[in-house]
């Protein structure tokens, strides 16, 4: 691409770069604080000593490793299912001439506003036989109406000519979806894949609600017990009686935050290449 070499443009670039650099620093600083304090105790902002004991403690229990396995499993499988069914449905709904489309959209939209709540959903999950299984963490939240609607928009934005020419070449709907639409929607798919993955990775309450077998609990359950609990959480009104809460060193809590966060953080850089420009290049002949 030809670069714009005017003075305004260069000034803008300089300002932009500096600004974004500042932003990056500001956002990452507190996380650095968390990481540093996981390696030792802190007095305000200054670390006191360096030790791996917090991490040793966390990894020494095999419950932790097992729950990590569970989390990885449900994140990968759950995201796959979610992406699959969300894109199938979004694609179908992106066709303006589909009979009853408006009705289906309203059906979906409605669920964003009205929800039965915890107890009725529990009954449904129970009657479908998902209680105490890992599926209960992946299926009830499988399709997000919110992401569905946005993805549908993305699909609609793709040029009609592509689909037309594919049809002419004898392709049927599924083929169009697989061979043309999806590859062109990689940025959106990457984004939603990330969103779903993060949601699944952070699952906490559903696990406790639907799964009684503690060996099937994902990692967040264990970790929240440590962090939220000893920070006083919400439950410190006199109504909810907690006996003296177990005491955790600050470094262990910070280590927990790091361990709970870093794995999912690492997913994004791998997805970034899909956010590169020029995906549509060359696909349409003017």
């Amino acid at each position: 691409m030809v670069q714009d070499k005017t003075i305004m443009s260069r000034l803008f670039d300089a300002a932009n770069h500096s600004f974004l650099f500042l932003i990056a620093v500001l956002t990452v600083l507190p996380f650095l604080y968390v990481i540093v304090s996981s390696f030792g105790s802190m007095d305000d902002w200054i670390p006191k000593k360096f030790t791996l004991s917090a991490y040793q403690y966390i990894f020494s229990t095999n419950t932790f490793l097992r729950s990590l396995q569970v989390s990885v499993y449900i994140t990968i499988v759950g995201t796959a299912f979610s992406l699959l069914f969300t894109s199938l449905t979004a694609y179908a709904l992106s066709h303006k001439h589909l009979p009853g489309r408006k009705g289906f959209m309203l059906l979906v939209l409605f669920t964003m506003f009205f929800s039965g709540g915890m107890i009725p959903t529990y009954f449904v999950v129970r009657s479908v036989g998902l209680l105490n299984t890992l599926w209960s963490l992946m299926i009830p939240g499988m399709i997000s109406a919110y992401y569905l609607i946005i993805l549908k928009s993305f699909f609609q934005q793709l040029p009609e000519e592509l689909k037309e020419s594919a049809k002419i070449d004898g392709c049927h709907e599924l083929g169009i979806l697989w061979r043309i639409i999806l590859p062109l929607s990689l940025p959106a798919m990457a984004a939603f894949g990330l969103f779903y993955a993060v949601g699944l990775w952070n699952q906490y309450f559903s696990a406790i609600l639907y799964i009684n077998d503690s060996t099937k609990w994902p990692v967040q359950v264990l970790l929240r017990q440590i962090v939220v609990l000893s920070s006083g959480g919400f439950g410190d009104s006199t109504q909810i009686s907690q006996d003296s809460v177990a005491f955790y060193g600050q470094s262990i809590k910070m280590a927990v935050v790091v361990v709970a966060t870093v794995p999912i953080l690492l997913v994004y850089p791998f997805l970034q290449k899909h956010f590169a420009k020029g995906v549509l290049l060359g696909s349409i002949k003017e």
Binding site: I119, G232, Q239, D243
Partner: protein, 521 residues
């Protein structure tokens, strides 16, 4: 031609989707089928499934008990751990325990109640929906059966009274000392300043001043203060009681009057305000979270922390960890114009209830009660109070000495002793050598029982309080904070209390009065 191919493709496509759906359903209907990432072969029954439970009078087969309670320790021990095994062996039971953090537990309990997927033993508090459930016969009334269980019955009557609903007992209380508030202080600081443990309110004030301005840690800097505060309403309430106010509600000529309306309460409130104004407590008490609050005392910034009696030794250890030549001590009561008083609590931290949905017969209820009774035998009481011999304690001449406090806390105390213990196990465990501090705690707790001031509303129910209690409490608690911080003056305080009365306070008082009159005719 094209159509035929298209149709075939269509059917093929439908078939694939159907197969996919079927696979999903099939996998789902097998309990965790094939997806045993956990690798745990134990097919532990989920709570509430009573089909495989053994019934029958003469139980040679173990009694299967499912239990759920709030657990606030670090990590719940794995099923099959040593403690659980010993309990099961001794009592001939099979235990299936779910321990969840309090906040989550309190959200899951209503779901359990609503769905009927509820264990045979659940911990509960007198939250409004539990009270409703109790009044609707959801839980067994165990009062009439208690006489068959001598150890369970030997508890202080007041404790049972406080958990009773409508005069009837619906659960086993998890006993705690009745008045367990303690002011834990740095004894080394006191010694450095040549002061004595305070016995009166004025002496307390003097100690706080000294801790703030007289360099108690002898480091040449004024970097300390008196007491670290987090829950101002509790601090005020306790000081008010020292001054002579009632506990929460007072009864005057059969009328129920809220403590805030008493002059003595205003004394307590003003006292705390004085502490705030003079810099003797942390100015940020309103924005302090638990770790910070505890840290102030642990790291030697504050000299006093007000907490429950079981934390005395814990704080002692923590402070010693930071400064090896430090020492802690405590006092519990202060003498005020109306004598020596101390706030009484319920004497229990929740109770264990038995839902009729899962405990189906009277026979089974009796077996479960027998289990709890048996837990008071010496062997089990020792397990709860001391742990496993050789691991948590060692026995010397028939007396126990703790080896590893931390291990005991994690493996025994938090998961089992505090959650399942009914009768305090120390009553029936083998005796042990106590440190002077532990000895003092026991003595003071016993003394407190005699001097405790009780909250008369613990045994009463107010509809209005059930409905809007939280809102009412917030009015008062906010007013307390604002007054202490100087945001409102006495006039402003009176206005807030008036508002409390209008918005429901008076109504609540009336309801308590009526109930009280009915019971005490």
């Amino acid at each position: 031609m094209v159509k035929k191919r298209q149709n075939r493709r269509f059917v093929w496509c439908l078939v694939m989707i159907a197969v996919l759906a079927a696979m999903t359903a099939a996998c789902a209907s097998r309990d965790g089928g094939g997806k045993t990432v956990a690798g745990n072969d134990e097919t532990r029954q989920s709570a509430g499934q009573t089909e495989s439970e053994q019934q029958g009078g003469v139980t040679k087969a173990p009694l299967h008990i499912t239990i759920a309670y709030n657990f606030d320790g670090k990590e719940f021990p794995q099923p099959g751990n040593e403690i659980e095994k010993r309990i099961e062996q001794y009592t001939n039971t099979e235990l299936d325990i779910q321990g969840l953090p309090s906040t989550v537990y309190n959200e899951k309990l209503p779901v359990m109640v609503a769905s009927g997927d509820i264990p045979k033993v659940v911990s509960a508090n007198k939250t409004p929906y539990i009270l409703d459930a109790i009044l609707d016969d959801v839980f067994w009334e165990i009062g009439p059966y208690l006489k068959d269980y001598p150890r369970l019955s030997e508890l202080n009557e007041i404790i049972y009274k406080n958990i009773s609903v409508d005069g009837k007992i619906y659960g086993l209380p998890r006993v705690r000392p009745i008045a367990r508030g303690t002011y834990i202080y740095r004894k080394d600081w006191l010694n450095n300043l040549g002061l004595q443990e305070p016995k009166t309110i004025d002496e307390f004030y003097n100690v706080l001043r000294a801790f703030t301005y007289d360099d108690p840690d002898k480091n040449g800097q004024q970097d300390t203060y008196g007491m670290t505060v987090r829950d101002m309403p509790i601090e005020v309430r306790d000081m008010a009681i020292f001054y002579g106010a009632p506990n929460n509600w007072g009864i005057v000529d059969g009328k129920f009057v809220k403590d805030v309306l008493f002059d003595e309460y205003m004394e307590g409130l003003k006292f705390m305000k004085k502490l705030y104004d003079e810099g003797l407590i942390n100015k940020d008490f309103l924005a302090v979270d638990r770790p910070k609050w505890e840290g102030e005392f642990e790291f030697g910034k504050a000299g006093i922390i007000h907490n429950t009696s079981n934390t005395v030794t814990i704080f002692g250890a923590r402070v010693k960890n930071q400064k090896s030549d430090s020492e802690v001590d405590f006092f519990s009561r202060l003498t005020g114009p109306k004598g020596e008083r101390i706030r009484a609590e319920a004497g229990s931290n929740g109770f264990l209830a038995f839902p009729k949905a899962s405990v189906k017969t009277e026979e089974e209820l009796k077996q479960i009660l027998a289990f709890f009774e048996k837990m008071n035998d010496e062997e089990m009481a020792t397990l709860f109070h001391w742990g496993v011999e050789g691991v948590h304690f060692k026995a010397e001449n028939g007396k126990a000495v703790r080896i590893d406090q931390g291990k005991y806390d994690d493996e025994v105390a938090y998961p089992y002793r505090w959650t399942l213990g009914i009768v305090p196990p120390e009553r029936h465990a083998i005796p042990g050598d106590l440190t002077p501090l532990e000895q003092k705690i026991e003595e003071v707790m016993a003394e407190n029982e005699q001097l405790a001031v009780h909250d008369p509303t613990l045994t009463l129910i107010s509809e209005t309080y059930n409905k809007i209690g939280e809102q009412l409490n917030t009015i008062i608690n906010d007013a307390i904070a604002k007054f202490v911080m100087g945001e409102i003056d006495e006039e402003g305080w009176k206005k807030e209390i008036e508002r409390w009365r209008q918005e429901g306070g008076d109504q609540v008082a009336k309801e308590y009065e009526e109930q009280y009159a009915n019971i005490n005719n």
